[in-house]
Subunit: 402 residues, 2 copies
């Protein structure tokens, strides 16, 4: 590996965070990232040495921020008032996206690569790799009843291999455009699980991360699925086709036959974000005696509704059915009645007040209220983002399998 | 995941390769990658729309190549005469490294992120994800005898979970600066294994990818190990300390107690590249009755020699020992005699003719010849690079466990 030293890196790779070192470096441009905390509020200074560039900005959490150039061609910006959290960013140099040469930590969202920083303590600590007992993470292929091999990720908790006990299982579903790697890469699910289990805040559990895009056997980074040369990260037709929900038995069967699993209802949970919330909602009423714990994180609910009443909070709930309606959506109200009739231990809904799916979630809760179906509702600030989904996972995990 | 659409991507994500599509697109700048084949010789055209940039080049396989700008601000370059292979590249835009917005496929080497393309058929097909039966890949933590938890990757082949058979194990070691992810990320080991096993060219086997850096418990991307703010990808002192070799029993013990393993000598193999070749050489003579198959890919041998004779092909081999010499290096000639006395089925050495480690490998082979220790020697073109290591793995796998 001697041959791989990058010859063209113009900036020294130096990174520091105040909490992780006992000293601070002098702030020169070669020190690219400096994170500081002033009474609970975090700040970060990002720097890029780019003497030949004409315009440099940083995209910080999807917001472009201009960077100032000094006489030596060092661009910098300080961002203040940050809460402890997991943050993503990238630079734009003369119109072209560039990663931070000072920060080797990157994460993918769809086909885009971002740098990330975990800043501060508290909730941010739960997203870090820490020296606790670790679970195992694997990518495994399961056979489907229609003869395909599809990939999913599976987390088994620390102690699983030494134990002879049966474990509860959480099925954790990604959103539109995600895949079986999304919760692991962007969701920090492995770190969150390791840390909450090590702290005895969450029960040791197996977590299964399926791929909810039925036109894919695995992430498009594995098998290239391109349409006119453009990678197909998501497909509206298949994601709402009911096929994933109907075929979910394949995933449960494989999990329960390949891992030491407690097969009782009280040891099964299903949760998902956005499209995955839609999937979790439908799977849990379709398999209505299977799951004692259901988590809907910023769930997409809209397509359940009569288009005429969408976005009207007090509209009458409707589940229109026509000849094309897939089985799983055919008897939603009847199946929900069966699901709530058997009293799930937790039906959890969380959403941010700025989420564009907020109105249809009001409609859904109105329906649940009207039918006296009990649920736990968590409303946060913020919108439809991983910022919220990581927090919802951290909030949800301690509540299940108790 | 609706919120994560990249707002600032100036170039459409379009990628095509002639072999994977039945048609070719018109070559406009928004079509960034075009791969073509003319009678066995591959070519690739790379394009980047960067109207605000002043200088754009591509670093293709560690070589900088200028790109030409057209009147619309589209930079492009064609590279011809390519063999089928796995290729890495990145752009440099006004002095700053940038990934290709048209290609979401990236791979990490140390802290540097590269785009990659797999071009052509033949050997390149073995590096692709193909629709064959797949093995499982996992990251797992094992306890060490000195009380640490260290991470390794493990591949179990297709059919492992359904079978009740015991499997042979290959321990596959990375080079200096690598970690437990290197063979999986840069080495395409999972794809190569899946494909060769599916073709019945290699035996189904378990492959264990340890972390050979004893100062790390896991990749520095997991636990941040920084010195003065600089991530410590490698450490010369600990990598030649003999600690990894001596403690290798921890890895074997864990593997043989957690997987269904054939524990006979004829079902154990060890191989490694560069520093990993050094490790494999020393581990296999230290545990000299354990491995019937040994693979040294571009191995570092130098430190075995008397410094006075290094790089002199005909120099007398010497294993200098002083008070600080670790146990594992204390009786190298005696242990090699024991190892070869029990007649390993394969002692494999491969190296490129341009490798800077070539002279010391001549010395080592001279020593083996003198002692009539049989080995298989494969010499290729090229140097100390992943290009060769992937090929050596493809060449080595069919030769073991037969």
């Amino acid at each position: 590996m001697f041959a791989i030293i990058c010859l063209f890196l113009q900036v020294k790779i130096i990174m520091t965070m105040k909490r992780e070192f006992s000293f601070l470096f002098a702030i020169i441009c070669s020190l690219n990232i400096t994170a500081q905390q002033v009474s609970g509020s975090e700040s970060v200074t990002l720097k890029l040495t780019a003497p030949d560039a004409h315009q440099v900005s940083v995209n910080w959490q999807f917001q472009d921020i201009a960077m100032e150039r000094d006489s030596a061609g060092c661009y910098s910006v300080s961002i203040n008032g940050l809460e402890p959290n997991f943050y993503t960013y990238y630079f734009t140099v003369d119109g072209i996206r560039a990663l931070d040469p000072a920060n080797p930590r990157t994460v993918r969202d769809l086909g885009n690569i971002f740098n990330y920083l975990i800043i501060g303590n508290g909730i941010a600590d739960l997203m870090r790799d820490r020296h606790v007992s670790h679970g195992r993470t694997e990518q495994i292929w399961y056979p489907t009843s229609d003869g395909r091999e599809r990939r999913m990720s599976v987390y088994t908790p620390a102690g699983y291999d030494k134990s002879t006990a049966d474990y509860p299982v959480l099925y954790l579903l990604h959103g539109s455009g995600g895949d079986e790697l999304a919760w692991i890469e962007l969701g920090r699910a492995v770190q969150i699980l390791d840390n909450l289990i090590a702290e005895n805040v969450a029960k040791p559990m197996i977590v299964v991360f399926p791929n909810g895009n039925m036109y894919q056997d695995a992430s498009p980074l594995c098998y290239d699925i391109s349409i006119n040369g453009k990678i197909k990260w998501s497909d509206r037709n298949t994601r709402l086709s009911g096929k994933f929900e109907t075929a979910f038995g394949d995933i449960i069967n494989f999990t329960e036959s390949h891992y030491r699993v407690d097969k009782s209802k009280s040891s099964r949970a299903i949760a998902g974000l956005s499209m995955g919330g839609y999937h979790a909602m439908h799977i849990s009423h379709f398999y209505n005696q299977m799951f004692d714990y259901v988590g809907l994180f910023s769930p997409a609910i809209a397509t359940m509704y009569d288009p005429n009443t969408t976005n009207t909070p007090n509209a009458k709930l409707a589940f229109p059915v026509n000849e094309q309606t897939p089985d799983v959506y055919r008897n939603v109200e009847r199946d929900l009645a069966k699901q709530f009739g058997s009293e799930p231990k937790l039906y959890y809904i969380s959403i941010g007040s700025d989420d564009f799916l907020y109105p249809e979630n009001v409609q859904y809760r109105t329906f649940l209220d009207k039918n006296k179906y009990p649920y736990l509702y968590i409303e946060t600030t913020g919108g439809h983002s991983w910022d919220n989904w990581r927090k919802y996972l951290i909030d949800f995990l301690p509540r299940i399998f108790k």
